[in-house]
């Protein structure tokens, strides 16, 4: 049984088809990066996997059970989501926001989970600060800590959950980008399935052991970074001429995009 399985997921808004028959299986222990150009349907796919959007056709199963059969409370104990750009309008402190990840729990064990998450997301020193007064990156890490608490509570309730991340590194500095990538890999090592939308291909290769390339609502490629990221694919999907290089062993591919391809080259 896969942690997360999408079968023939199709999403349409008006005449536009945002996702077109996506089939996808993610197993426990995998870290999957969804990449693709703007408008490829990355965030839409993540929102379908999270249960926010009900697809026009197809369905998503979480731990073998269709998403539609979960109630919101049960879903929260089997998957956690970190969205982009969460705006907090009331003067909650960082600690109060992080506590929200624990749901109704107020026990000492939950307090320990909150402390661990505050430290792990590097926001322990911000605990009493008012969230709307923090910088964008600090706020994002506070939200990350909240999601870590939700994950830990889910582990205690129903075993390893699924973690979905939408551009988790968008407003973070280099050190914290790597921190998030490491956190995600740790969680996967602990048996969770991790799926993240990323637009930085280089971060995706560090982050994920499997990359899913979306192009105009369809899967263009799916596999380990070393096998997927080729000059041909980057030219075809992103319209950028580049030479994919390798780091010294273990030989992680990296991309330095330099030149836009000609229109005829991108359609070739």
């Amino acid at each position: 049984m896969s942690a997360l399985e999408a079968r023939g997921v199709t999403v349409e808004v008006g005449a536009a088809r945002l996702l077109d028959g996506i089939d996808l299986r993610v197993d426990a222990g995998e870290t999957v990066a969804i990449v693709g150009p703007n408008g490829a349907g990355k965030s839409t796919l993540l929102r379908v996997l999270a249960g926010e959007i009900v697809p026009r056709r197809g369905e998503v199963a979480l731990k073998g059970c269709p998403l539609a059969r979960y109630k919101a409370a049960a879903l929260a104990l089997n998957r956690a989501v970190l969205s982009q750009h969460i705006v907090v309008t009331f003067p909650f402190t960082a600690a109060e926001i992080v506590w929200m990840g624990a749901g109704d729990r107020r026990d000492a064990a939950a307090a320990a989970l909150v402390e661990a998450a505050l430290a792990e997301a590097d926001v322990a020193h911000l605990r009493d600060r008012i969230v709307p007064t923090l910088s964008g990156g600090e706020q994002q890490r506070v939200q990350l800590a909240r999601v870590l608490v939700q994950l830990a509570c889910a582990v205690q309730a129903h075993g390893p959950p699924v973690l979905l991340l939408d551009e988790p590194t968008a407003s973070l500095d280099l050190r914290h980008q790597i921190m998030v990538a490491r956190l995600a890999r740790d969680r996967a090592a602990a048996g969770m399935a991790v799926v993240a939308v990323l637009h930085d291909l280089n971060l995706a290769t560090v982050f994920a052991n499997r990359i899913l390339v979306l192009d105009r609502g369809r899967l263009a490629a799916d596999g380990p970074p070393a096998a997927i990221l080729t000059d041909e694919l980057i030219g075809r999907v992103f319209g950028v001429a580049s030479a994919v290089n390798r780091t010294p062993p273990p030989g992680v591919p990296f991309v330095l995009p330099q030149v836009m391809t000609e229109p005829d080259a991108s359609s070739a």
């Binding site: 929102r47 999270a50 249960g51 926010e52 109630k71 919101a72 409370a73 049960a74 879903l75 929260a76 104990l77 956690a80 989501v81 969205s83 969460i86 705006v87 907090v88 309008t89 009331f90 003067p91 909650f92 402190t93 109060e96 926001i97 929200m100 990840g101 749901g103 109704d104 009493d128 600060r129 008012i130 709307p132 007064t133 939200q143 939700q150």
Partner: protein, 353 residues
């Protein structure tokens, strides 16, 4: 971010509630001594059977107290509590500290429906010479408040996102429409109906009776029962509707319950005391500054501070222009509007205006 600020925020809920409860009792006792027939504190205790006193004086004081003063104080406390909690819930629902049922047309919607029922009901019943039953007003006010709240919510929310700009502008339009409707009913009304309608426009607790208290009480009981179950959901909503869903909140159900509750509370308050604005915005905002925004504490504290504020305001309304009474709606608007402006200036970066 002073240390005091954080210390106040971490006070136990029970202590906050306890202190507010004591203040409410003190303000109510003070209010009971004030009025055309003064009852000094020394005689108040005797009239409430707490002490012995001169029997003749006690009987006279009790008459004033139980027939006039107490129902008015209790009604003021209940109306203030309802308005403040309705404001707190509405602000949580819309994630917007500027939301107030009185500002965005919910109160006006209730007032319009009530005014319409006065004029139309009166015409329909004129042939039979029957008097318009008092119970009809809360019912029609409820329909008006529910309609205004639902329209506002569906206007401002698209695809799970609530637009603050559309919410405020839409609320102004709904308020304008409802006020135009009230103007129209005033135009259609005869002298006697006009007097009844004017009551809605200005807001007053002058006609308080024990039967009105009994009519409002169920609403207060309902909110006291339901509110604790909404606290976590309203907290989570501050992150946005989708994030609240991710955290396990049944968001659609929470929104439906909140809208019906807001409409019911505003309808109960408006049908008994007319349109009283700004209580719903001032009280939760002061409390968020003092004890933080967590709804588990904010909702019960709003209930009590709303009661305190309106009892105090009604006492002022009885005193400042004695022997005449200042309509309380005017008093709260006079004091609340400057507060609202100050709030707007402080928070305009936050609400993106």
């Amino acid at each position: 971010m002073t240390p005091l600020f954080i210390r106040l925020r971490t006070l136990p809920t029970a202590l906050v509630i306890g202190v507010l409860l004591l203040v409410l009792v003190a303000v109510a006792a003070f209010s009971a001594t004030i009025g055309a027939a003064g009852i000094p504190l020394s005689r108040l205790a005797a009239a409430l059977h707490l002490l012995d006193g001169d029997p003749a004086v006690v009987v006279r004081d009790q008459l004033v107290l139980y027939a006039v003063r107490l129902p008015r104080i209790v009604l003021a406390a209940m109306v203030g509590a309802l308005l403040a909690v309705a404001g707190a819930i509405m602000q949580g629902l819309f994630r917007n500290p500027l939301a107030d049922p009185g500002l965005v047309g919910v109160s006006a919607g209730a007032g319009f429906a009530a005014a319409l029922s006065i004029v139309i009901g009166d015409r329909l019943l004129a042939a039979t010479l029957a008097k318009l039953p008092v119970e009809i007003l809360p019912a029609t006010a409820f329909v008006g408040a529910l309609a205004a709240t639902s329209i506002l919510y569906s206007l401002a929310t698209r695809g799970g996102r609530t637009s603050i700009a559309v919410f405020l502008l839409g609320g102004i339009a709904i308020a304008a429409l409802a006020n135009a409707g009230i103007g129209l009913t005033v135009f259609m009304a005869d002298d006697r109906q006009l007097r009844d309608i004017t009551f809605w426009l200005l807001g007053s607790l002058g006609g308080a009776t024990w039967s009105k208290v009994a009519a409002v009480a169920p609403f207060l009981v309902a909110i006291a029962v339901v509110a604790p179950f909404m606290a976590r959901g309203l907290d989570a909503l501050v992150l946005g509707e989708t994030e609240a869903f991710h955290l396990g909140i049944a968001v659609e159900r929470l929104k439906r319950v909140a809208i019906v509750l807001i409409a019911a509370m505003v309808a109960a308050a408006v049908s008994m005391a007319g349109i009283i604005v700004f209580v719903g915005i001032v009280v939760p905002h002061l409390l968020r500054l003092a004890i933080g925004p967590r709804h588990r504490t904010l909702l019960p504290a709003s209930l009590l501070l709303g009661a305190i504020l309106l009892v105090a305001a009604d006492t002022c309304a009885r005193v400042v222009a004695a022997p005449a009474e200042l309509p309380i709606g005017i008093l709260t608007a006079l004091t609340g509007a400057p507060f609202f402006l100050a709030l707007l200036m402080r928070q305009r970066a936050l609400v993106g205006l």
